[in-house]
Symmetry: C2
Subunit: 322 residues, 2 copies
């Protein structure tokens, strides 16, 4: 399997410029805001989304290489803004072992800092001067907010069809992966077929990513100490493992009875029940289907370092729990 440093190799220079661009995002703002932003911008995540933007720009001829770098920064800033607001909604104290803005400065400040970062991301996209990409970006912010709202509004509804789950996780997660890939291709001046292929890659990788996230919630995430196993179901969020368990592994309605009770103790038992079934494995199979589609969307392109990296990211998506 490709190593992570091999994945990042074709975009090493771009990623360095991206980090520089990201640092600039804090500059020129209010002093207290700068220190707030410093705290979040430099707690480096894996930078998966910006990497996808940069890689997706490598399938076209000569173009202004600064444009995908700007876009990569905007995509990461947008991701960071959603994390700030998500942590505020979830009242999370830490993320990846670091104190959240809301735990450090309060929920009100966190909401407003999130607003600032949303707006900052939009100004960075404006620097691309590409109205189609700017519009795509604004629509993505709408999708992300809708996804989080749907998670609240569609909670505790164990009757919702699979399509509702898929469209919800697209809003919540897939949309940004999709935009990351599509905009990278668009800003490289790639032809329509390439843009479409990258969009499909982004869509499928994003869906696989969120399904794996939903599985990890049942398996327990070793990197998130103190996070309860099955926390999603306990707060009413209906995800794929629970759906599959209800559909295929509940002939006695044991699980349904527990879930319908809706109290915490019953839901905790429901989590244990789901973990004991093959639903987790079956959910991985669904994620693998999306992964496969992501890789298939790259078929038209000849072998290249960027193609190998995108395939590598698709492979890693399913290995995240390790």
């Amino acid at each position: 399997m490709i190593t992570t440093s091999e994945i990042y190799a074709p975009i090493q220079e771009g990623l360095a410029k991206f980090e520089e661009q990201l640092r600039k995002a804090a500059e020129g703002s209010n002093l207290s805001l700068e220190s707030c932003l410093d705290h979040i911008l430099h707690s480096t995540g894996k930078r998966v989304r910006p990497a996808i933007t940069l890689l997706a720009s490598k399938f076209a001829g000569k173009h202004d290489e600064n444009l995908p770098i700007l876009m990569a920064s905007a995509v990461e800033l947008l991701h960071i803004a959603t994390l700030i607001h998500d942590d505020t909604v979830d009242k999370s104290d830490t993320r990846r072992g670091q104190a959240t803005i809301s735990s450090l400065f309060g929920q009100d400040v966190a909401m407003l800092v999130g607003d600032y970062v949303f707006a900052k991301s939009a100004t960075v996209v404006c620097d691309t001067n590409n109205v189609r990409v700017i519009r795509l970006f604004a629509e993505t912010i709408m999708a992300l907010a809708t996804g989080e709202l749907r998670e609240i509004w569609e909670a505790n509804d164990w009757e919702q069809p699979r399509e509702k789950y898929f469209s919800r996780i697209f809003d919540k997660t897939g949309s940004l992966f999709c935009t990351a890939a599509e905009s990278g291709a668009l800003l490289s001046g790639a032809p329509g077929t390439t843009v479409q292929a990258m969009k499909e890659y982004g869509y499928n990788i994003g869906m696989a990513f969120q399904i794996v996230d939903d599985i990890i919630d049942f398996e327990g995430d070793p990197t998130e100490v103190g996070k309860p196993v099955g926390g999603d179901l306990i707060k009413g969020t209906f995800t794929l493992p629970a759906m599959i368990a209800l559909e295929r592994y509940d002939s006695q309605s044991t699980l349904k009875t527990l879930m319908d009770a809706k109290d915490e103790a019953s839901l905790k038992k429901a989590v244990e029940y789901i973990r004991s079934t093959q639903a987790i494995q079956a959910s991985y199979d669904v994620a693998r289907d999306f992964q496969k589609k992501a890789i298939d969307s790259l078929t038209p392109f000849p072998d290249s370092p960027a193609k190998r990296s995108l395939k590598g990211i698709a492979e890693y998506i399913l290995e995240r729990r390790k």
Copy 2:
């Protein structure tokens, strides 16, 4: 004095299309979101900002009249988004007698609905296809968030200079008035001098607006039942009346002692003290200076219905308490 219907007369058609455009903003979203949005979009405010955008577009030759209408809708949507987040920060139950989103659906939903409306406003601006205006708009969102953050961070600092207050209220309020006017002129294809004049009009009208708001907080707003008189100072927000009272009407340091105590009882006494001085009147004088500058910025233009309306809005800004 010009009547309000005379003010709105030159843009009647534009305002009707604006309302239609605003209604469209709720369409096509998630069903629960639509009902949330219906609640806010149709609780009609005075539509001052969109009126300024439409009027500012009337000082140029032939142009696509749809562009200022789109911009007016975006400006109002942005204003609504900030109100949703402000009510969430302030934990306000009502605004203009109507239940707030946060009181109806909870703070988390309010934050996310606000995010959605921010993003929606940005997509509407994208429809203008004018990158300069889109960028101006994104920068305005940053300023608005910064203004609210500064209100939190600069609280209880009675030493801050007048300029800090002015720049804070520009961020919080002036920036959107400024953008409303400037973008209207820009989208009408007006020459640079006209754009600059409209920008100055917007800046000065916005500053006057916020100063009057800060005065009303000390006078008590008859339209906001149950809102405590002097609520700003009690929560630590240092505004012009308190600044002037400390500077000019506190030779015995009575007020300073009360304010330095910082407990609610002392601050309530401080509010009474300020109300008993000429600081309120002196604050009106400052607002009047900004009002005058707003009107002066219109001097280069020949008499027209739009010019009379902009002057009329400037006059009404100081009459809001009645």
